[in-house]
């Protein structure tokens, strides 16, 4: 497998997935009206990756905004990562939030409570 990327737009994030390094990053804004369509390729790549993951998988989620439509899709992504974590790759999810953005920190904690994968809350200094 190779390096896969999706270029960001005003409503969708930049996604980088380097399967050789076991590194996934979602960065920017995720506020599309139809988020299922947007996230489907990523969910499919993770499904493929789960067959032969690296021993360590590191995931960076650095979102400025995300809508509730995306929140379900992000949960789907995390559920795939949960399965990969169970399957032998040590997954860590780094959840970035900006100072003062309590809503984003809380959103990360919501996922942390649902998903059985180690989360790291990372404060971004402005």
């Amino acid at each position: 497998m190779e390096k896969i990327s999706i270029e960001g737009t005003p409503k969708t994030p930049t996604i980088t997935f380097d399967t050789a390094k076991g590194f996934l990053e979602i960065k920017g804004r995720s506020i599309p009206e139809n988020s299922i369509e947007f996230y489907k390729p990523l969910v499919d790549w993770l499904e493929k990756y789960s067959g032969k993951p690296q021993s360590v998988t590191s995931v960076n989620i650095q979102l400025e905004y995300f809508n509730t439509s995306s929140s379900k899709c992000i949960l789907d992504v995390f559920k795939k990562l949960e399965a990969i974590n169970k399957g032998g790759s040590a997954v860590t999810i780094n959840w970035y939030y900006e100072e003062d953005d309590e809503d984003m920190l809380e959103a990360g904690e919501d996922y942390q409570a649902i998903i059985n994968v180690p989360f790291k809350m990372v404060l971004v200094e402005e």
């Binding site: 506020i31 009206e33 299922i36 905004y65 809508n67 809503d103 919501d110």
Partner: protein, 180 residues
């Protein structure tokens, strides 16, 4: 004839920053969000309040968008039209939306909003997580989380009303306040 000055004056007195009436498309929402973002920058709002207003605005407008998609089969052009206004009074932002709703759907929506309005901050957090993890997602991506998220982020009750129109439709309005 419509007195446009009266109309303007009313909007001015209510500090309306932006308003729109018509069909809600994805392109329109992209433009409106861009305009509002630059207005929030111009007003030099704190990043915290800017993010809250932007997030809540996204949910309010996408609610309209998804709702209009549901009634899109209706041949009546009027039914697909909606209105929204964004204003700032003192230190609070107000987002007001209005759209037609089938009378047969009022009871379900009213119950959903009433159910959200009785929850405390902690209960809203739990309810959000529950719906996120267990809720059915519609094909268009509306997961039923929007209203819960708005209530959670604003920390206020959802203020809403149904104005009767005719035997088939009413006009649903939602008035969201974001205080600093």
């Amino acid at each position: 004839m419509l007195n446009i000055y009266e109309f303007y004056d009313k909007m001015e007195r209510n500090n309306i920053m932006l308003s729109f009436k018509g069909d809600i498309t994805s392109e329109l929402l992209t433009s409106v969000l861009q305009i509002m973002e630059s207005k929030l920058d111009t007003l030099q709002e704190e990043p915290k309040i800017k993010k809250k207003v932007y997030n809540v605005l996204v949910e309010c407008l996408q609610n309209l968008y998804h709702h209009l998609d549901e009634v899109a089969q209706d041949q009546n052009e009027k039914i697909r039209s909606a209105i929204f206004m964004i204003g700032k009074i003192d230190n609070s932002y107000n987002i007001i939306t209005g759209n037609y709703i089938k009378n047969s759907n009022i009871e379900g929506l009213k119950k959903r909003l009433d159910d959200i309005n009785i929850l405390t901050k902690e209960e809203l957090k739990e309810y959000y997580k529950f719906v996120l993890n267990n809720g059915e997602m519609s094909l268009k991506g509306g997961g039923g989380l929007g209203m819960i998220d708005i209530a959670r982020k604003t920390g206020q009750k959802l203020n809403f009303d149904f104005a009767p129109v005719d035997e088939n439709y009413s006009f649903f309005s939602l008035n969201i306040k974001i205080s600093q």
